[in-house]
C-alpha cells in the first residue's frame, strides 16, 4: 500500500500533466476516459498517462490516493484536478486553460 502511494506520488510529481485512464490515449476503453483524452488533445498539452486496466494495483491505489472513486483522474503538477465531469466543466468555462497557463504549461511545440 505505501509502495503504491510512493509510486503514484512519483508519477504525478514527475509529469506536469498526467491522466489515469482506462485504455490508452489512442485506444480509450471507456467513454469518460475518451472524453478526458479529447480535452487534453484539444488543449494540445503534453501529458503522460497510465492505463489502470493493465495495472490493478494502480487502479485501486489511485482511488485511495485521490479519495476519488472513479477513473479517469487528472493531475496537474502533482495536484488532483478532478475526473472527466470537472475537466469538461473547467474546459468549457476556460478555467482549465487558465490553470495550465498559470502553471506555466503551454501547448506542446
Amino acid at each position: 500500500m505505501s509502495d503504491i502511494r510512493t509510486r503514484i506520488g512519483e508519477t504525478v510529481a514527475g509529469n506536469d500533466v498526467f491522466l489515469f485512464m482506462k485504455g490508452t490515449p489512442l485506444f480509450p476503453q471507456c467513454g469518460f476516459s475518451s472524453r478526458a483524452v479529447a480535452i487534453l488533445e484539444h488543449l494540445g498539452v503534453e501529458y503522460g498517462s497510465a492505463d489502470v486496466l493493465r495495472d490493478p494495483e494502480i487502479r485501486q491505489g489511485i482511488k485511495d490516493y485521490s479519495q476519488w472513486p472513479t477513473i479517469p483522474q487528472l493531475y496537474v503538477k502533482g495536484e488532483f484536478i478532478g475526473g472527466s465531469d470537472i475537466m469538461m466543466e473547467m474546459f468549457e468555462s476556460g478555467e482549465l486553460q487558465a490553470l495550465l497557463t498559470e502553471k506555466g504549461i503551454g501547448p506542446a511545440a
Binding site: 482511488k63 472513486p69 472513479t70 477513473i71 484536478i81 475526473g83 465531469d85 470537472i86
Partner: protein
Amino acid sequence: MPMSASQIETMIRAALPDATVEVSDLAGDGDHYSARVVSRVFAGLPRVRQHQLVYAALGGRMGGELHALQLTTAAPPEE
C-alpha cells in the same frame, strides 16, 4: 444490482437535506445516469470537494454498482 434514479436521489438528499437533486437515466438502462446537485453546503468549496461530498452520500457505490454518474454540482446563486 443496478440503482434506480430515485434511490440515487434519496441517498443524496439524505446526506444533503437542502439539496436540489435532478437525476436522469441517460441510456434508459438503469446504469448510466447524470445528476445535477445544488446545495448551500457547496458554497466556497472547490469542485473536487463538492463531488466528494456527493460520492460520500452514495456510500461507496460510485465506481462499484453505480458505474456511470455524470455529475455537476453548484451552490445556489446568492440571494
